[in-house]
Every structure is written in C-alpha cells, then in structure tokens.
Symmetry: C3
C-alpha cells in the first residue's frame, strides 16, 4: 500500500536533456516526462486513451505528443487535440478526451511527480535536497534499479547498524557503528536519526579519498528520512582531538537518496553523496562516487537475497529487535498515511 | 475465448518437408503435424496418452509415431497400435487407446487444423488464399512469433490508419491513409474493408521496388478479414491519371496473412505479400519480402508495447473512436460465435 | 505433498570441504549446511530470524555463523548468541531467539537432512548407499538440477522400460528391456524391482568400457527405490553361457541415486554409478561417469518435455499401463505416508 499524496522522484534533470521522452513506471503507473520548449515540465500517463499504446513510443510535435499507433495528438497538459480523419465523420473532437496529467516539479536537479490528488500537490512538501544543486557541494549523480519492494530499501536506510556488516570493507570498517545507539525523533512526514560513533578507525571508504595518517576518527550520521522514501544526510568523520569546527582533516559529506516504487516489487533508486567543493577535486568527486557504487551493490546483493527469502515465505515471522526502532516507526507512519488516504483523508498525519 | 469451429493455419507446407515432425501449439493445445508416405497429412495431439511425453520427441516408423519415452506406437489416425511387453501380461491392446486426431487440410501451401468438433470440419470454410499458390503471383513465405494475444494483431490489421504512423517510413508514407474513410461490410464470418487513398506520394515501400519518377499515386486496400484471423487483401497504387486498367506503372499486390493463437497471450503469424509474376523478377520478390519484414517488426514493437500496458492494467478504459469500426465489429462477431459454440450451437452465425 | 519424516540428501560430502557454507533449498525451505571444527555437521535454516537475510551470505566465526546484514550471531545449533549493541539497551539476549536446526547425518559421502519432526529422526532409516564409500567400488560423484517436480523423476527410475527408448544409444540398446517383466515387491518404505533381460546385445554404454568380442549378454537390474526417492541398484551384464559366478567378462555395477525436491517444481539429483575396483582403472571410472552424464541428459530432456505438457494441462488423463505398476505403488505409498503425517501420525506405514 503506497502513500500517493507525495512527491516521488522520477528522474534526474539531465535525463530530460535534448527533448527526450523519458518513460518510467511509478507506483505501477506508466508515465512519460519531458520538457516543453519553454523549459516547463510535462508528466503524462504513458498510455494513449485510444488503444493504450505508450506515448513515449510516439513523437514530439512541438510541445505536443503524437501517438504513433493511430495518430492521436495530445498537448502538454494531456488533452487530445487531434484525431486523424475525424472531421470527415462529421463528429467533433470529444472535449474531454485526454490522458492523465501529473503535477510535476523540478527541484534542485530532481524531477518529481505527485501521484495523489492533484489539488493537494504542494511544493512545500518537496524535500530539502540542497546539495543536489549548490555551489558549495560536488557530486556525481547515481541511479540503480532494484528488483525488490522499496520498503526493504527503506528499512536498510533506516538502520545503519548494517554498515558494520554489509559495508565492512567500504562505508563501515568497525563494529562500533552497530553498537552505537542513534537518537530517533519523529517528524511530521518521517523520522530523524542521529548517530555518533566516537573513536573508530576511518572507514575504508574515507581512506580511499583522504590520508588520515593513522589517526582514529569521530564519525557522525545525521539524517531525515521522509515520505515517500527520501534520505537527506549529513555525515562525516573528524580525527579524534580535532576541534568541532576544525575541518582541515575532517571528511564532511551530504547525501541525498530517493526511493521510488516502480511496481510493488521493484524500485528506482536515485542518489548522490556530495563533498564540500573546497575539500577535493574532480578525482575526489569521482572516487567518492565509485566507492558509493561498490557499497550500493553490497546493499543490493543483500537486499535481493533477503527478498528471495521473503518472497518464498511471506508469512514467516520477523523478530523485531532494538535496532529496528526507526524502521518500525517509518513503516507505521507510512501505513497510517496510506490508510487515511484510503479513507478519503488528506493524507496528513495528526499526531 | 476462442472460436473453435475454424480452420487455423498451423504451418507452411514446406515446413513438413523431409518427413519432419512439426510441433506447434494451437489454442494452447500441443499438436504434431506430419506428412505420411502417401502425401496425406496427420495432425495429432502432441502428448502420449500414457505419461504425456510429446510424440514430436519420438520417432517416425513408417507412417506411425513411436513415443520414445516408453515405446507406445500410434498410427497416423492416433490409435495406439503397440504397447511394448503387453503380450506377456496376457492383456490385449486396449481398443480405444489413442491420442486425439485433428482434421487437417492442405490448401494452397497453408496447412490448416480444425480445432472444434471434427464432425463440423468443412473444407468450404477454408479461406481463398489463392496467391499462396498461383502461377500469376510470386512471394516469399513469412512467419513471426508474437508474445501478445492474437486479438491485438487482429485489431491492427482491421485498422489501417496505423499505416500513416507505425509504418510512416515503410508501408505508409502519408497521413492521408489515416484520414481516408474505409467502407466496411459485414461478411458471414468476417468483415470486408475497402479503402481508397487518392493522390498521395508512393510509400517508401513501393519506392524500394519501383521508380515512379516523381509521380503521385492513387492507392487502394481491399480486404476480407475472416475467422479466425485471416487477411486476404488486394492492394496497390497507380500513378494519378493512369487508366484503371493500365498496369504498366501500377503496383498490384495480393497478401495472405493468418493469425493463429498459440496460447492466450502468444501468437503464430503466417504471411506473404505477392506481386504479379509478370511485374518483377526474383530481386523484386525478395525486396518486397524484406520490406515487409521491416514493417512487421514495426508492428510487433508497437503491439508488444501496447500489450505491456494492457497487461499491467487490463481494466483501464479504451476510448472507442471512429477508426475502430471494423475491429469492434470483428471482435463482436468472434465473441458471438464463441458464445454460441459454448452453448452447444454449431458455431454458425445467424445474422 | 511431501513426506517430511525422511532423510533427504542435501549434498555430497566434498561440497562441505574447506569450511564452505553450502546453501541449498529442500522442500522449499532454505537451508545452510557446514562442518564444524570438530567435524560435526550443522544444518540451519538459511534465514536470519531478524530480517530474513540468508545466513549463507554471512560469515563463519569459529563454529558460529554471523549474519552479515545486521550482525546477529548464531551457534551451530541455531541459537542466537549475540545481538550487536543490545547490552547498552539494558535488555538481555532473548533466550529463545534462534533459527531452526535440522537433524543432519553424514552417511557414506552423502549428507542428509531430516525434514520432519526432529524427535523422530532415526539413523536406522538412512539408506544403504554402500558403494558411495567402499574400497571395493569406484565412481565419480554426479549432480544435476532439474526444473521439474521430483515425482516425474521417481516415475522414470521406477520404470526401466524407458531404457529401450530414451537410452537406445546409451544404457539401453535393445527393445527386450521394455518387453521384459520385472518382479515388484513392496518394501516398508519403498519398492523392490528385479528385472532380468537375457540374451541381448551389450548396450552401447558397456561397449564404451569393455570389449565383449561380439558376445551377447544376460543383463540384470535389481534395485530398491525407497523414501523419499532413493535408488540403490545392482546391475550388470554377463556373456551368455558364462557361469553366474564367473566375473571375468562380466560388467557389475552398483548405483546410488537420490532425488531431493528443491521446490514443488524443481529437483536436486545426486548420483553415482560404481564399478568394481578390481575391474577397471581410472579411465574406466571416468568413462562410466561420462556415459552416465550423456544418458541422464537424455532423461532430463524427455522429462522436461513431459513436464511442459503436464504443466499446460494438469487435469488431462494419464492412461495407466502394465509397466506403471512400480511407480503407481510408490506414488500411493508416498501419498499414504504424507496423509498420515498430516493427520499427526508418526509417518510409519502400517500395511
């Protein structure tokens, strides 16, 4: 059950360059996204209302889309503006003939679609993914496709104890991460997690981009995880003994990650991990990105294996443990919002 | 729901050369077809009545088939004529032991099976696919496999407005095809469609086989589309101004195409497009065939994409438009015949 | 419906060498098997009780398994002995937290798991696969994976009439095998089959490993086929006229084969065919093994084709014939034992 009154990331902005018709399925609905000549965005149902051919297999004609099966033409708001040959039949173009149009927003390089009631689409609900587009931060954009439900990847991001194990050789590097206790705080549409891990070796990941000269570090992970599945995180490490405002030897990162269900069992994953522009060159940017890809494959392998077990026996019991606090809280929030939407509520959470 | 009291094309005649045992599934039933030494045809259930091994994985012994799992032998009418070792048990060969035999007919290079009540198999219902075997016509035989329901391909063939779009660069070449209005006439077991498209550029397809020297042409498409899914079409183009009986610069084609459901979601497609024997050599024959293959891939790509959308949401509404007249008529006829068969009727249509 | 109170072969012993964590699904349950440092065996549910990640994707720590998703550690009996970070929460390790442990036995190179009630696990029910580990016998171990239900492979092994047809060019070589009549005897947990085939040419299989100089042979196949699907067979051939105790020109083989359902529609197949150690060198051992692989591919091809027909129409009638006596008897025994288990009985057969 999905929360619909949400902004879901459907693309990186650069995927819409050169007039592209980008086809992507979200919450099991086929959508085509493109930029009009004015630079505005259009997100339409990727299914002609006539015989259900995908409009993304069609042709742009100015800002319109021509279905290339039988020639219906739709404007950027989804209205059918031409049916070949209809004039000779004496009939008029049916006024209401259209494909669904989705509210769409571009916000700091991410393209979002609103999957619920268009009247409730609210740009104030767009997440603060500032490092995606900020002169102080540098990154390379990432995308992965998962053949697992998006909930399992949310779980993964809500419990960083896995860094000690899944990412032992990359992002983790010490069991103290799993042993440390995060502070968890409810947000209106998500969860805030703060985790400090003092006096540990720098993770192999850091070591690839910076030489700590044998020093141990204090690490931190502070993030919001908000509907529908968006992580906004400050993290870093600073040599033990360095003052909190001394960034000379610190690693400071900001990461934005968005999970968008493609179907009930597959997921789009958009992500980046940015470093301070004044702390690293293009090689550092690339190094961080490449390390992240290695680590995210570690996640994908584990979550896919987990999903195989779950798919074979969905009824088997899962033992809830202390480290599940944040993920249980987020799952409950999501279920509550989805239920309220189903009851016709506005999708807002009262308490 | 399929109409069963029909002749379905199961093979091109040449596929049965050299004593081949051809295995092909029709209406989700496994069938093996072969020629006996007298030249007659046998179409049997491709499933031994003992442990259900396919007889097509067996061996011809004269005109009989030996199941190569446990050795049962069947004659060309499907009767079991040998069970290894049964004599020593004191038992006799059970008189009624057999696999199903299908009425089968060879008609102008196409091999047909009758999937309904054998008592109703009527060679008068074989379609008039004359150009498949006629000295005045030349072609190369074609076969495609579709991973879509056969109904979607019937729809495609019953609305040629798609030529302007799907086949813009091949069979189409002008939007006037989609804008022209066909005359549609009911047939006892199908639909007749006549479409004239005057004064258009020759399609790219023609241009590959003939030089029109810049002339525009009048085009025509006259076809019967009959149960279960067989297209018999005269089509062509003649330079504007040439007399109707002046064939010196005309392109005249005859096409036979047959759709046979393999399963509810996959289809066998047998086809040819023939030209007049006195208007073209082997290079022309090959050129027409190759162009047709290019165009049929255009169809397959579009219909497969359409099917993906339909499969994901079978309940979504399809807007019926003017150009759907013939396909709606054919779908209704098919449903009516299938319902009457299900009620035990003879599968004939009263009105 | 599977009989659970049985020993199922899950691995060849050599698959557990070098501390391997072997993951294999049995009766659709994920299992991980490994040897502890003392040489004992452990077979655990391959699914962490926390978030269901497979323990086989984890790490051995001594004789324990560490789940490498969130770090839970289990001992070789399946008890959870560590939860990272739990101490700081003030909570204790839940005493009953564990994954399921399966009774496991190593018996003559085969590793067995007991899938039913652990209290009923009885090593006296292990099959007598003596040639798998005996100085008088030599073989190479085999494993095949089938994408078919295990019942179809049981059927195959319970009716050797198929040797004349499926294995005409390998194990068979004469129709007399199919025409010969085996003597079938009920066992408490299986069926005994004795088949003698006098005065036939040596099978192509034998001819590859021994020169019979044109002599015809008397062949025999004497086997027990016992729960859950284990074949224990003496077979051989001796030149016609040679005395029954004259082994100079005889081929004498002993074969052990075990079928283990992976899921309802896929199967693990463990097998070997051994020859007398005093009748052949390593080249003979290899030759027999390679011939067996060729023959077992013949079976797999046929059974997979049979399964395709059955999967498409599970309700279609199978005609029972005289040669099905043993397989019908075994299927009935299996159904009866499974029903009795389901009723809470001990899985023993009364009559």
């Amino acid at each position: 059950m999905f929360v619909r009154n949400c902004w879901y990331v459907i693309a990186w902005e650069h995927e819409l360059a050169d007039g592209a018709l980008l086809a992507r399925r979200v919450l099991d609905e086929p959508i085509v996204v493109y930029r009009t000549s004015s630079g505005a965005l259009s997100a339409l149902e990727d299914r002609c209302c006539h015989r259900h051919a995908p409009l993304s297999a069609g042709r742009r004609e100015g800002d319109d889309l021509r279905c290339m099966y039988h020639g219906l033409r739709f404007d950027a708001s989804g209205h059918c503006v031409e049916i070949p040959g209809i004039a000779a039949t004496g009939a008029k173009l049916p006024a209401k003939l259209r494909v669904r149009s989705y509210p769409v927003a571009l916000h700091r390089k991410w393209v979002f679609v609103w999957m619920g009631d268009p009247a409730q689409a609210d740009v104030n609900l767009l997440p603060d993914n500032y490092s995606c587009d900020h002169p102080d931060w540098r990154y390379l954009p990432g995308y992965l496709h998962y053949d697992t439900p998006y909930e399992l990847i949310c779980d993964n991001l809500l419990d960083f104890s896995h860094l000690s194990y899944v990412h032992e050789q990359t992002l983790g590097g010490s069991v103290e991460i799993a042993q440390s206790h995060p502070v968890i705080e409810a947000l209106p549409r998500g969860v805030r997690v703060r985790r400090h891990v003092p006096n540990v070796p720098p993770p192999p990941y850091y070591a690839k981009v910076r030489d700590f000269g044998g020093a141990r570090v204090n690490r931190w992970f502070i993030y919001d995880f908000v509907m529908p599945g968006i992580l906004l995180m400050e993290s870093g490490g600073r040599p033990v003994g360095d003052a909190p405002d001394d960034d000379r030897r610190a690693v400071r990162l900001h990461s934005c990650q968005a999970l968008t269900p493609e179907t009930a069992t597959s997921t789009h994953y958009f992500f980046q991990q940015a470093h301070r522009a004044d702390a690293g060159d293009a090689a550092i940017t690339r190094g961080i990105h490449e390390q992240l890809l290695v680590a995210f494959e570690e996640d994908r392998r584990m979550i896919t294996a987990q999903h195989r077990n779950l798919a074979a026996d969905a009824a088997a019991h899962m033992q809830v443990l202390w480290m599940d606090a944040a993920l249980v809280q987020f799952r409950r929030l999501k279920e509550r919002m989805a239920r309220e939407e189903a009851r016709g509520g506005v999708g807002e959470v009262s308490g």
